[in-house]
Amino acid sequence: MISLNVNDQNFEIEADPDMPLLWAIRDLIGLTGTKFGCGVAQCGACVVHMNGEAVRSCVTKVSRAQGQKILTIEGLSKANDHPLQLAWNEENVPQCGYCHSGQIMSAAVLLKENPNPTDADIDLAMSGNICRCGTYPRIRKAIHMAAELSRKTGTTK
């Protein structure tokens, strides 16, 4: 039995210690907002937060996640009103949308550590999140907007 804390809730799961965290989150806990992309930490679709860091859940074993604080896209805000979610909506960022849970979770770490990022900072932070639809200009624009919203409301997570 493995204990996981996901979005401030405790879960006891029957899983092999080597099971990827992504499997546990999606298939055992039932939170399907986090997506499977490549399975080898190359695309960023599966990014979740572990103790505030943007880990790739497809290669993170549940044994590493045990006892840590995991945050998924479902837990980023209570009413889908995190500044990044508001900005994503405002800028109509997604096209197919598949990669955007990971994009937003990575962007959230950027804003937490750098509340006023430049374009260059955004590129450095987001270069590990791939978007097949090529929504990068809108991602960048939305991050700037979210940064502004955060500064106004003092919201970071």
Binding site: V40, A41, Q42, V47, E53, A54, V55, R56, V59, T60, K61, R64, M105, S106, A107, V109, L110, E113, N114, D121, L124, A125, M126, S127, G128, N129
Partner: protein
Amino acid sequence: MKKLLNANRGLIRMACIIGVVLSLVTLLAFAMNTEPKNNNPQKIMVVKDSIASVQAFKKVYSVLMSPRCMNCHPSGNIPLQGDDSHLHTMNPQRGVDGKGLYAMKCANCHQPTNTPGRNTPPGNTNWHLPPANMKMVFQGRTPYQLAKQLLDPKQNGNKDMKKLLEHADDGLVLSGWNPGEGRTLPPMSHADFKKAWTTWLTTGAYAPKK
């Protein structure tokens, strides 16, 4: 009176002879003891031999410049990847502490152990580049430059001789010989590398001419 003086002279002569004999015995005892004395276990014995030292460093250099070592000692701020030492895909940055930036920190993908499968992220509990204030660049260094750099505490992470010797068994150094599937090993075993490293340092740590 004369007799007394003669007796005294005799005693003095005898004392001198005994003194000389004892000194000789003592010197002989030291001379026969060929074992080097090392009263301080922290002190490292260095027997200078410039030829052996330079030859040993050639082996050390071949390992340090192999992708398994050099890829994390790049000349820029992006680590290298693969047997051809290309820039790491996704352009992760060194960051101040050598552990990356923002959502692109080393440990976000590099797990405590190797991830199964060919060319998946290799793992280590302490995966990182050298920090920004001590980059310890290997890429592009000649044997002479690298040898000098390795010996300079201001460029080698403040390592003295003892720490340099110990560094051969550092966990991240050892991981070069456990690189995960799809990556070639350094050009010799870790045991041979350690032997060459130790020989280089304990024969005077001479730098090659070029």
